[in-house]
């Protein structure tokens, strides 16, 4: 086994353990968990048998396994970005709602006091 394979496999295993031990995992959607759990064994298989990646690439019409990896990675990256963007918009909406409520409450209290 060459060094890079050891590093990659160790990395994926750490990821898997972190994922499984995450105390908030009950909040993660089931399909996301499944993808995560499928991802690690699949990644390890491709690390151990890099030629298999080439075979998969050929069957979908891509020259090399590394190229296929890049394409899939690009897609995943964009997907994650959009996901994070939506999430951040949602958080922003919630913070806005909270801040507005707080402002109204504060004003209500202070103007009741002064009887304005």
């Amino acid at each position: 086994m060459i060094l890079i394979q050891l590093v990659l496999i160790a990395g994926f295993l750490i990821l898997l353990i972190k994922f499984l031990l995450d105390p908030n995992s009950s909040q993660i959607r089931a399909w996301k968990k499944l993808i995560g759990l499928l991802f690690v064994p699949l990644a390890i298989i491709f690390v151990l048998f890099p030629n298999e990646a080439n075979t998969v690439a050929h069957t979908v019409g891509v020259g090399r396994g590394a190229d296929l990896l890049l394409y899939v990675l690009t897609l995943a990256f964009i997907f994650v970005c959009i996901n994070l963007y939506m999430k951040s918009k949602q958080d922003q909406r919630r913070i806005t709602e909270l801040t507005r409520k707080l402002a109204i409450l504060e004003a209500k209290i202070s103007y009741k006091k002064s009887g304005k």
Binding site: R93, T96, T99, R100, A103, K108
Partner: protein
């Protein structure tokens, strides 16, 4: 009993009216705007939207209710805060939105208020293209025309000015407006709401005073790209 002549004030304000002013870094203009409005209106709400200048001090005047956002949320959010606060008064009948930078004319607000009280409309919108714009640059006019065309196309309404901060509406509109777009895209959102809720609307000509102050502190044209993006995104996500 001596015959009382109606002052312009009591003639105009027959229903309880709240003036709602979103305030963000307009410390140089807000004092005069509020002083002028306070002569005719008894209920003025100023929402200080996390200003970093002396806006809060300048707004702190007699009769003015100042609501403080902990940090800047955007004009749409500030308007909604003001509306929510005013709606807590069960007697509140009419609501006026007014810009803090002194670009609007109080006479126009009174005229629009008189109109909504005398006619069966839900909302009266100010239009600078029906009226006169003083010292407006052609570039700004062109930019606004594009914004108006865009908003009309997405809502199916026919308005001459969609991004005008001067509006007068009744309680029904105030209760159903529910602005969700925090920033300047709320202008399009209000028009969208008018279309969706089938509010009866009327545009009246208003004068816009493009002072040096309002020009220096106005909406950046580049920001319109953000607005268009957000409006389209909201369309796609079905809101």
């Amino acid at each position: 009993m001596p015959k009382r002549t109606l002052s312009p004030k009591s003639a105009a304000i027959s229903g309880k009216t709240y003036v709602i002013i979103p305030l963000y870094n307009k410390g140089g203009a807000i004092r005069a705007v509020l002083k002028d409005l306070a002569k005719d209106f008894d209920h003025i709400i100023c929402i200080n939207d996390g200003s970093t200048d002396d806006s809060a001090e300048q707004a702190n005047q007699r009769k003015i209710i100042v609501i403080e956002h902990a940090f800047n949320l955007g004009q749409g959010a500030a308007l909604q805060t003001g509306i929510d606060f005013a709606l807590q008064d069960p007697e509140a009948q009419y609501f006026i939105t007014f810009d803090a930078d002194g670009q609007h004319d109080k006479k126009d607000a009174l005229k629009m208020l008189a109109y909504i009280q005398a006619h069966p409309v839900d909302i009266v919108l100010g239009s600078r293209f029906l009226g006169t714009a003083k010292n407006s640059s052609t570039f700004k006019r062109l930019f606004l025309k594009v914004a108006i065309t865009f908003t009309n196309k997405t809502t199916g309404l026919k308005l001459t000015d969609t991004h005008n901060g001067l509006r007068v509406f009744n309680r029904k509109v105030a209760e159903q407006l529910k602005l969700t777009m925090p920033d300047f895209a709320h202008a399009s959102e209000i028009v969208q709401r008018i279309a969706d809720m089938k509010f009866i609307y009327k545009e009246l000509p208003v004068t816009i005073h493009y002072t040096d102050y309002s020009k220096a502190h106005g909406q950046s044209v580049f920001n319109s790209v953000n607005i268009v993006f957000d409006v389209l995104l909201n369309k796609v996500s079905g809101k």
